[in-house]
């Protein structure tokens, strides 16, 4: 069965600083990969996704992620963080099974300092 690891439970950065959130997955083949963001008390919003092709994908809100097959990683980056980026971020894997189930990481809580 596939698994997703987000090793950083909580990250704090200053506004304007760069950001990288880590995500590693375990799966026999290349799955579909996603990053979602969740503001407090809200549902999840899709930031970006990777299915195939260019390994650097661009998403909404200035986020990007790079798929590295050799490292089984799909890290999320943003060059300059805004205070409104404070939220919880989830990496997810779709093993492309018949029911299209997502496996989520445990999430990374991002705090942005003024």
């Amino acid at each position: 069965a596939q698994s997703v690891t987000q090793p950083d439970i909580h990250i704090t950065v200053s506004e304007g600083a760069s950001l990288e959130l880590r995500c590693n997955y375990s799966y026999g083949a290349t799955p579909y990969l996603f990053w979602y963001v969740q503001s407090p008390g809200q549902g999840l919003q899709l930031l970006l996704k990777y299915f195939s092709g260019d390994t650097l994908v661009q998403g909404i809100k200035g986020f990007e992620a790079e798929f590295k097959r050799s490292q089984s990683s799909f890290n999320l980056r943003k060059p300059s963080v805004h205070w409104s980026d404070a939220a919880e971020y989830f990496c997810a894997v779709d093993a492309i099974g018949s029911a299209r189930q997502l496996t989520f990481g445990s999430g990374t809580q991002l705090t942005v300092l003024p």
């Binding site: 579909y32 809200q42 549902g43 999840l44 919003q45 996704k49 029911a99």
Partner: protein
């Protein structure tokens, strides 16, 4: 894109009382539907998924059940709530031709 509606937004229930959370979907037909639970400070746990009307699969043994009486309606229920049922419940939908799951706004359930 799809729109997912969930209600109620918040719910406080006593232990032993019944539960019914509703999810409806707009913008797609015959989607896969999902119920997730998010406990405080933890990730999302898939509870149930459905690939069609009346077809429910359970991912974990638990005190809850799910039903899909209509194509775009997904209901999460319990006959008797436990304290451990507290959490944030999210409904999600994925269209047949889509590679993305869309999420509803969630229901915050507190069992006292």
């Amino acid at each position: 894109s799809q729109t997912i509606h969930q209600w109620p937004a918040t719910l406080v229930q006593p232990v032993g009382s019944p539960l019914s959370l509703e999810c409806t979907v707009e913008g797609t037909s015959n989607p896969n539907l999902y119920w997730y639970r998010q406990a405080a400070g933890r990730g999302l746990q898939l509870l149930f998924y459905s690939v069609g009307i009346g077809q429910i699969s359970s991912e974990v043994p638990q005190n809850l059940s799910a039903s899909r009486p209509q194509d775009r309606q997904f209901i999460l229920s319990s006959k008797k709530l436990l304290l451990s049922d507290s959490g944030f419940y999210l409904c999600a939908s994925q269209g047949r031709a889509s590679n993305e799951q869309f999420f509803g706004p969630g229901t915050r359930l507190t069992v006292l």
